[in-house]
Symmetry: C2
Subunit: 147 residues, 2 copies
DNA sequence: CTTTTTGTTGCAACTGGTTGCAAGATACCA
DNA sequence: TGGTATCTTGCAACCAGTTGCAACAAAAAG
């Protein structure tokens, strides 16, 4: 867990504190392979300590998201999903409405759009939190499969 | 209200019914100048009939959205906002995090991005529901004003 | 006009997520 | 080491929005 060192340093820089709860959430995110719901991450943390509250999970995921360690994607089914992105280039997320798969697109692919919005509308877009919905290559041809 | 005729025709085409509640929501949306929350639209409808339930407002806004009459924008403050878009070209919405203003961008401005996603990722994006966050021209220079 | 069909509504319960607050814990310093 | 300032937590209440369901009402048929 190389990012724990970085995490602690960034916490200190912001005058925030390292707590067992924050360590457990970070650890749970390392266990998880891909995107998981807050409830799934909560279950992982409970295996480490039963007394943690779900609101602490949400608060910690939000903190990690704002620190750039975690991507948060609203998959359109009423539950957000979270995954570690530590050290990766920030990206836009594509959610397939057929199969539910989430793909990250490096933000430089979107640079032309950013420039156009800046030039035409004077708008400086922050693409850290953007999610686009549609159909992936697999799901485009075939009949839409259940999620 | 030119769109009421179209609304009735489209309802019939889908085997759905015209109800007083649906007429009142459409009328409330015509009264509203710009984007309003469900609660604000609910208040407008209540002035016409006190017994309508807020769940009916949500269900009707959702229906109108799916029929393409209404744009729905998550302004990032925990409340969605709705506005009539009848007959307009579909567009992406820009939300300024400084002043809260919502601007519509015609979808053809975003066409190059769509093509890139199609070519590079095989992903067919549906941009009807996209909202981008950032800072508008006014709010970029000055210190961020309260919403 | 009456009946029948089927879509719609109000209501209450529920969902994922947020928030105010007092108790508890961390970091820092004497 | 103990004391203090301040951050964080668990908890319970709350929020916007959704949903199951039985009563109701629009449309169509007779
Ligand atoms: Mn956040
Ligand atoms: Mn619009
Ligand atoms: Zn797919
Ligand atoms: Zn602004």
């Amino acid at each position: 867990m190389a990012c724990e060192k970085i995490f602690i340093r960034e916490l200190h820089q912001r005058g925030l504190r390292l707590t067992p709860q924050r360590e457990m959430v970070l650890s749970a995110l390392h266990e998880a392979k891909g995107f998981e719901t807050a409830e799934e991450i909560y279950e992982r943390v409970r295996r480490l300590s039963a007394s943690v509250d779900i609101s602490t999970i949400y608060r910690t995921l939000d903190l990690l998201h704002h620190m750039g360690f975690v991507a948060s994607v609203d998959a359109g089914d009423g539950q957000a999903r979270f995954a570690l992105t530590a050290l990766q280039e920030p990206h836009v997320h594509l959610v397939c409405q057929g199969c539910g798969r989430i793909v990250g697109v490096p933000i430089h692919e979107v640079e032309p759009l950013l420039q156009a919005l800046r030039a035409r509308y004077g708008f400086e877009a922050d693409l850290d939190d953007v999610t686009l919905y549609g159909l992936c290559e697999n799901c485009r041809g075939s009949s839409p499969s259940a999620r």
